[in-house]
């Protein structure tokens, strides 16, 4: 009974520790379209990059279009896979995740700018 009690206390303490670190390590994702590419940036609030973390890109029907990894500067770019609302999901090693929706209108607008610059 005593060991069950100790395990319970330990679980609570460990969970509490994780909860605190989750808030402090919240990750942010941002994406924009430029010159035929989608450019993504993943960062902590203080500007430190979210490095070597998994990136998944979905269309508006939640179909997985592609996967990748952020580099040491928290960046990951890819050619525009589809002219649609794109959901960019980043998941870092401790499990913290966040997502960003790049609107179809922004992708369309970037293509118009690209044409205008040619």
């Amino acid at each position: 009974m005593f060991s069950v009690f100790r395990i319970s206390i330990l679980s609570i303490v460990v969970s509490a520790l994780f909860a605190t670190s989750s808030l402090a390590h919240k990750i942010n994702v941002f994406a924009y379209a430029e010159t035929g590419q989608v450019k993504t940036e993943s960062y902590f609030a203080d500007g430190r990059p979210v490095k070597q973390s998994r990136v998944m890109v979905y269309d508006s029907n939640d179909n997985l279009l592609l996967e990748g990894k952020t580099d040491d500067e928290g960046l990951f770019s890819f050619a525009i896979p589809k002219v649609d609302d794109l959901k960019v999901v980043v998941r870092e090693i401790l499990g913290h995740r966040n997502s960003f929706i790049l609107k179809k209108s922004e992708i369309v607008a970037s293509k118009v700018t690209e044409k205008g610059n040619n």
Partner: protein
């Protein structure tokens, strides 16, 4: 001798009633999140913040934004507008612009107004004014200097503040800390969401005063939700000629922050 004494006496009479002038740059949103519109509006004006009176603001000499170390000139985007207090007649010139946030980070908007002639004090006033808008979760850049003749560098992150929080800043004059200068502090009664107009029980409550320390640093705890202006005043080492006479210039380093009630 008698004439001099009378002139000084009259000037002293004016001093307590010279209400505090504040140039202001107020954004429609100071924390832009990914789920909100990224188009913000900025209002640029010259006011008595607590008493809500407006004064004419001519087209500024400089208006821009600092983001991720890069300054962008926005003077050409300013559109003329007007504002007034409920008890004022006629509108007073103000300026407004729309700005689209494109990337994460801190955006420090700044204005250098044209010199304002204040006859009651027989001098010109130039208030170099700054405000910070945080965008898309990246909290970096809020403490970067613009390089103005005088400016306040925030030592408290200037957004995400609760009423009751302390705001600390360092006053710079020509890039160097300005010790023992007076900073006037005033609440903007026009703040969106202000539930009731604050009435000062007596004059000292309209504009409060703190002084910077030997390192140019000051602190102030903000007791109410809304916009707070901090104006650190110095005298310029140059003059402007008016009517053939060289007139002094009061230069102000002004910073605006917003507080929210903790619920």
């Amino acid at each position: 001798m008698k004439k001099t004494f009378l002139a000084v006496f009259i000037l002293l009479l004016y001093a307590p009633f010279a209400c505090a002038h504040f140039a202001a740059v107020i954004p429609s949103d100071d924390i832009v999140t990914k789920d909100e519109s990224r188009n913000i509006q900025l209002d640029v004006k010259f006011v008595h913040p607590l008493e809500m009176h407006y004064m004419e603001m001519a087209r500024p000499a400089q208006f821009g934004v600092l983001h991720r170390g890069k300054k962008t000139d926005l003077l050409g985007t300013l559109k003329q507008s007007q504002g007034k207090a409920p008890d004022q007649e006629g509108g007073f010139m103000t300026w407004t612009t729309d700005y689209k946030i494109k990337r994460p980070g801190d955006y420090t908007f700044y204005v250098e107004p044209a010199p304002y002639w204040e006859p009651a004090e027989d001098l010109f006033i130039i208030h170099y004014t700054k405000v910070c808008v945080n965008a898309l979760g990246l909290q970096a850049g809020w403490d970067g200097p613009i390089g103005l003749e005088t400016e306040i560098i925030p030592l408290t992150r200037p957004y995400g503040l609760w009423s009751g929080n302390m705001f600390s800043g360092q006053v710079l004059l020509k890039g160097k800390p300005a010790p023992y200068v007076e900073i006037e502090v005033e609440y903007l009664n026009e703040s969106t969401g202000n539930p009731a107009i604050v009435k000062a029980p007596s004059d000292p409550y309209v504009t409060q005063v703190v002084k910077s320390d030997a390192n140019g640093v000051f602190h102030y705890a903000m007791p109410r939700a809304g916009w707070w202006g901090f104006s650190a005043l110095s005298e310029a080492d140059r003059t402007i000629k008016k009517g053939g006479i060289e007139k002094h210039i009061e230069i102000g380093a002004v910073y605006w922050v917003r507080t929210v009630d903790m619920k």
